[in-house]
Symmetry: C3
Subunit: 157 residues, 3 copies
Amino acid sequence: MSIDDKFKTLGLQLPAPMQTANLPFDLYRLDGQILYLSGHVPTESDGSMAKVLGKVGAEVTPEQAYEAARKVTLGMFASIVAAVGSLDRVEAWLKVFGMVNVAPGFKTIPPVINGCSDLILEVFGADVGAHTRSAVGMAELPFGVPVEIEAQLKIRL
Amino acid sequence: MSIDDKFKTLGLQLPAPMQTANLPFDLYRLDGQILYLSGHVPTESDGSMAKVLGKVGAEVTPEQAYEAARKVTLGMFASIVAAVGSLDRVEAWLKVFGMVNVAPGFKTIPPVINGCSDLILEVFGADVGAHTRSAVGMAELPFGVPVEIEAQLKIRL
Amino acid sequence: MSIDDKFKTLGLQLPAPMQTANLPFDLYRLDGQILYLSGHVPTESDGSMAKVLGKVGAEVTPEQAYEAARKVTLGMFASIVAAVGSLDRVEAWLKVFGMVNVAPGFKTIPPVINGCSDLILEVFGADVGAHTRSAVGMAELPFGVPVEIEAQLKIRL
């Protein structure tokens, strides 16, 4: 089954491209076979910032943060399709940098970023989806989003 | 107009290379066509650390932080010239990772890192200057600098 | 002298691979000649998380943090050998991203990450070991580890 078909079979839908309010950067840049993805924040289906804001371990529960990381990932999938036309063009996920907006003392950061890793592996499978990762706690993230993730991928020519 | 000429036309000047006090790392490393730039801090024209120190949203205003991000970027331009001889060798800005030393509750991080993105786009134009970006809030940065930025670029052979 | 021999001559030993408790990511991923290393935490010789936990500048001293960064680096060496069979396969260290779990006000971050840079240069020498670097202060790191470091390297074919 193609990855695009797998995505649909799982009942998932791509959101609209993440809205960046005219900020002076691009959501992605393709250099040869390497696709760079900007830091993505959690978005709703229309590409607007998700409503759940605040620090994980305080206003935002770990469960909400896992879901936020999943929403970030769907937005990254949308950027991949915008960049190269299809999820099937991905040859490898190389690197995921997962940042969590932590309340003081919130240390169980990896399970939050699993919301991203789990979805990548579910959709792309173990071979294509295998990725290196850091999952770390930030002092603040833009506009109070609970999770922000950037990534680098290898694209099939 | 060449990018080097554009740079001069804008009345800009390259600072001396960032002083790193014999720390055991390099400001840049070129691997094939990919140029890696270390985390740069704001520097004055002589390459010394800029005097404005502290947390953005407390000791440092957002306007000062924007200016600090601009100074960081001029230092990165100096590292590019030191690495490959000319700004015209840049084929693409690929990735900018912008880190702001935030006071608790300071969330308007992207406008600070615009001090970097705006200058890149002003000097290099939309095609070469287009870049992916993350703009995030750190708990502390070395010696209390308000902004630190690292980047990856594509170099013309 | 080969780098593997140099490593032994220095009396160093590779730890077992870092234990990741079934977290859904890989310690490394090789794409062509680029080796991506996940964020590594300090580990003991059996690959388990080192016992020194907490914030640098509070529970953890700068000296302990330097030692923790060194342990992280030995774990990264183990991942390199697991990925490509030998330290001699490294053609260049390209990029080191060093993250310190800081207590409020702890700003002398670069000397901590020197625990990594110093060991790289000691083992690999100035040519292969030269690397770009950022050394920054995080709000929290997974499970309270004092240091986490990720890296990208160039591998000899």
